[in-house]
């Protein structure tokens, strides 16, 4: 899963709710198709609302791109668990993953649109953060 050499920045969507994460990913997919590596994860791993470090780690691997990965999160626990998941990556890959300070749905759509035209990671993150 790590040899996704897409030339575009990847997007990972992390919500407490699998339905929200999947729904946001559906919207992104409709906008940008297969041009952007995309993964979503939601739920606590035991079937309830929450976020799961292992699942987020898998999502980052799935959406991995040599250009980097932008992660959209919903609430505090999602952000902290994403930070933990990033720390599970080898040190050299960690700086290539950025958590966006953005609304999850609007941010994901804007980030993916920016990523689909080949922008670099900081530009993709800014697009998400300027979404509202």
């Amino acid at each position: 899963m790590t040899d996704n050499h897409s030339s575009n920045v990847g997007i990972v969507i992390v919500s407490h709710s699998p339905l929200v994460a999947r729904g946001a990913a559906d919207m992104v997919h409709q906008m940008v198709g297969e041009s952007v590596p995309l993964a979503w994860c939601g739920g606590n791993g035991a079937g309830g609302l929450g976020t799961d470090v292992a699942g987020i780690h898998e999502g980052i691997e799935k959406a991995w791109s040599t250009r980097g990965v932008a992660v959209l999160v919903d609430l505090g626990g999602a952000e902290m668990n994403t930070e933990m998941a990033i720390e599970l990556l080898e040190a050299s890959r960690r700086p290539m993953v950025t958590i966006c300070n953005a609304a999850i749905v609007e941010g994901a759509v804007m980030a993916a649109t920016e990523a689909s035209i080949g922008s670099d990671l900081p530009t993709v993150v800014s697009a998400a953060e300027d979404a509202i």
């Binding site: 609302l49 470090v53 292992a54 609430l75 626990g77 902290m80 668990n81 933990m84």
Partner: protein
């Protein structure tokens, strides 16, 4: 020395016994998942008790911390996980009271970095910081173990009570603004329960 796995099993039992209260506190000012999340995490740690008992205390805490991170599913996973992982790293294999004070301090520093919270934000730190300061003062005084444990327990209870009148600045409770005042913080309560249980276990040691 108390076996680390057995101590963590005791903590899991305390969390289990009080999970409903943690959930009630969290429903008042948060999202109502603190009891369930803590229980899931600590139950997973309790299942590893034999394995943890075979490790030295520092390594056992680190391993338990990683399990909390992976199993809890909410913010309390990374927060308690960081506390145990970083604390465990500096605890070493045969800790005395000095080492425990230093380990608690380094664990708390990790919680501060992870949660980006400060004292007075109505969080677990409002229990952990006074506990740590009290422990350090007792160590500096050379107080005997019974005095130290009593002082630490009192610091934990007072810290918990201090969160009642605080305005929440972190997590979902912060969305409530002024309405968070008048409620105990659920994370502060779980921290106080853990401190209390650890003191009881250390005090009961032969």
């Amino acid at each position: 020395m108390i076996n680390p796995g057995t101590l963590l099993q005791t903590l899991a039992q305390v969390i289990r016994d009080n999970a409903d209260e943690l959930t009630d506190l969290d429903q008042a000012i948060g999202d109502g998942d603190h009891g369930v999340n803590m229980r899931r995490g600590f139950d997973a740690v309790a299942e590893m008790a034999d394995e943890l008992n075979a490790l030295d205390p520092g390594s056992a805490l680190q391993k338990a911390g990683m399990t909390l991170v992976m199993k809890v599913g909410g913010a309390s996973g990374p927060l308690y996980g960081s506390l145990l992982m970083t604390g465990g790293k500096s605890l070493g294999s045969d800790p005395g009271v000095n080492d425990m004070a230093a380990a608690l301090r380094s664990g708390i520093d990790a919680v501060c970095r992870r949660g980006k919270a400060e004292p007075g934000d109505k969080t677990m730190l409002d229990v952990l910081l006074p506990v740590s300061k009290t422990l350090e003062a007792c160590v500096a005084n050379g107080d005997d173990p019974a005095v130290t444990l009593a002082a630490v327990r009192q610091a934990g209870s007072q810290g918990l009570e201090s969160t009642r009148d605080m305005l929440a600045r972190k997590g979902r409770a912060s969305f409530l603004g002024e309405r968070s005042i008048g409620h105990l913080d659920p994370g502060a309560r779980s921290a106080q329960l853990i401190i209390e249980a650890v003191c009881q276990a250390l005090g009961a040691k032969p």
